[in-house]
């Protein structure tokens, strides 16, 4: 899923400093699951913004709504009623959401209240890690089901580099496992260590963002 993290309050306050009435819009998708942009976080952010603005002697009015999904025009529609009375929108969906909101309201300023961090998942309570960078052509089958593009700091397809020490990556001050050690262990478990000897050649990055904006078309579903 998409992992997000709230922006610092001061940054959001700065973005909306010229407005008196804003909509705070959340999303019930991924960002609800990672406790960053769901109904609860919408309520908390709205009240924090009001309190801060009140303390600054410049009161703010907030309207709250959490969409079923913000990456779907149909589910943004219910915002119409709130937006017509407001001067701006703060979206705390992943950064796809605010862009859908922007598309729907051409004359209303829209701001992101959240930083979209990664495509990943929780590894323990309160900890989320990145697993995929959407390169557009998945090759993890060649690497024991683990992604070196995302999880190796140098994106090596022929790792591990000389900085791999006791299973830990040289990058990240000891906090990140060396994915190439994990790939090695995994291939060993699978009896496929010989795969580590293959020289891996060039990745085709044209399916990644390097090829330009990506559009996915499924003809059979198009109307």
């Amino acid at each position: 899923m998409v992992i997000g993290e709230s922006k610092p309050l001061a940054e959001i306050l700065e973005m909306i400093k010229d407005f008196k009435k804003v909509v705070v819009a959340g999303c019930k998708g991924c960002v609800t699951v990672c406790n960053a942009g769901g109904e609860k976080e919408v309520a908390i952010l709205a009240s924090e913004l009001r309190i801060a603005r009140k303390a600054a002697g410049n009161e703010l009015e907030t309207l709250e709504y959490t969409c079923e999904r913000q990456c779907d025009p149909e589910y943004i529609e219910p915002l119409d009623d709130l937006v017509k009375d407001a001067e701006a929108v703060v979206s705390i969906a992943c950064s796809v959401g605010p862009q859908y909101v922007t598309a729907r309201y051409p004359f209303v300023p829209v701001f992101p209240g959240l930083n979209t961090i990664s495509i990943g998942g929780a590894t323990e309570h309160g900890v989320w890690k990145e697993f995929c960078q959407a390169c557009g052509s998945c090759i993890i089958g060649e690497f024991g089901g683990l992604c070196p593009i995302t999880r190796c700091a140098k994106q090596l397809l022929n790792g591990p580099c000389g900085g791999s020490s006791e299973g830990i990556c040289e990058v990240g001050k000891g906090s990140i496992p060396c994915i190439w050690q994990l790939i090695y262990d995994r291939l060993k478990n699978l009896g496929q260590l010989h795969k580590m000897q293959e020289v891996k050649l060039y990745k085709n990055w044209s399916t990644s963002r390097d090829g330009g904006l990506r559009t996915t078309i499924r003809e059979e579903l198009k109307q």
Binding site: A153, K154, Q155, L156, L157, N158, G159, P160, C161, G162, G163, S164, S165, E166, G167, E170, V171, G172, C178, Q181, Y184, M196, Q197, E198, V199, K200, L201, Y202, K203, W205
Partner: protein, 312 residues
């Protein structure tokens, strides 16, 4: 008998003549102070066969390795141009290989490079379109088949003698030789190892390399960095990933009066050089006297490696 050369660099010729080679290293400065760079390099002249010029090592901005290599050529020194894949994509890398070859540079060391989080621009974007293994394959293919990564024909093939690095001390230990083998398969003709301090572990690494037949396919140079001080030894041990400096060396450095520490460091380096040269499969020494270039003549001499061989 005339040996067949891929690039015909002095380094390649010395290896192929069966003599032990010695390379040094000279890092370009963090500015364009050419005189300082030339001054450092001047200590290497006549004392080593070729000089590595680093490519923004530890991800710190310095003047570029191609310019540094060209300056060495003008000084009558043979460069080993280092190139990292961190900062350039396949377009820029191939372009630089062609440019370097056009300038007369004949030795190329292909690296992935240190991550930018260690350097002076940690907010930089990294590229990593390729890794070191792929870069070796790229240049080999340009040289031997006259083809670029895309298959486009190269008009005027870059004659490069290709090198790579190997760290015998990283993990998983049993894989380090295999990874070196991958680099050799991809195109590496010579290897310069990471600085060696743990001689035991290095000996095992070389035994494996011999067993796998790698030392017959490639010239392996043992990387030696003299320890200048106790502080440096401790720093290497603690902070340089994958480097293990055994306590015995630190004890030795601590055991001599302060004014003799440098001399003791040199003594250790000389012993290491001799020990490495005695190992089966070692074809030379890569002496990385970091900001200590002025001591290179003394070390090479003490190790009995002077005069350097002449080749034509």
């Amino acid at each position: 008998m005339t040996a067949e050369y891929t690039a015909g660099s002095r380094l390649e010729k010395i290896f192929k003549s069966g003599q032990k080679a010695v390379t040094g290293e000279c890092g370009p400065p963090r500015g364009c102070d050419v005189e300082h760079f030339k001054h450092k390099a001047s200590f290497l002249k006549g004392n080593v066969d070729a000089v590595n010029v680093t490519d923004n090592q530890t991800a710190v901005v310095r003047f570029c390795s191609m310019a540094a290599a060209k300056i060495l050529l003008e000084m009558g020194l043979e460069p080993v141009m280092q190139m990292v894949t961190r900062d350039m994509n396949r377009i820029a890398l191939q372009s630089n290989v062609l440019g370097a070859s056009a300038l007369g540079i004949k030795n190329l060391l292909c690296l992935t490079g240190d991550h930018q989080s260690f350097g002076d621009h940690p907010q930089a974007k990294n590229v990593h379109d390729m890794d070191s293994v792929m870069l070796l394959h790229t240049v080999k293919t340009m040289r031997d088949e006259g083809k670029m990564v895309s298959g486009t024909e190269v008009q005027g093939r870059p004659k490069m003698f290709l090198g790579a690095a190997a760290n015998p001390f990283a993990d998983p230990a049993e894989f380090r030789v295999i990874r070196m083998g991958k680099k050799i398969n991809a195109g590496a003709q010579f290897i310069q190892t990471q600085c060696i301090y743990n001689m035991e572990r290095f000996r095992k690494f070389m035994e494996m390399a011999n067993d796998m037949g790698l030392t017959e396919k490639c010239y392996i140079m043992a990387g030696i960095t003299p320890l200048k001080s106790v502080g440096m030894a401790n720093y290497m041990k603690k902070f340089v990933p994958g480097l293990d400096v055994p306590d015995s060396y630190i004890t030795r450095l601590k055991g001599v009066p302060k004014e003799n520490v440098a001399a003791e460091g040199i003594k250790i380096a000389v012993e290491q050089i001799q020990e490495c040269l005695a190992m089966k499969g070692i074809s030379g020494i890569h002496l990385m006297a970091i900001e200590w270039e002025d001591h290179v003549p003394e070390i090479v001499k003490a190790a009995g490696l002077l005069p350097r061989p002449k080749v034509d």
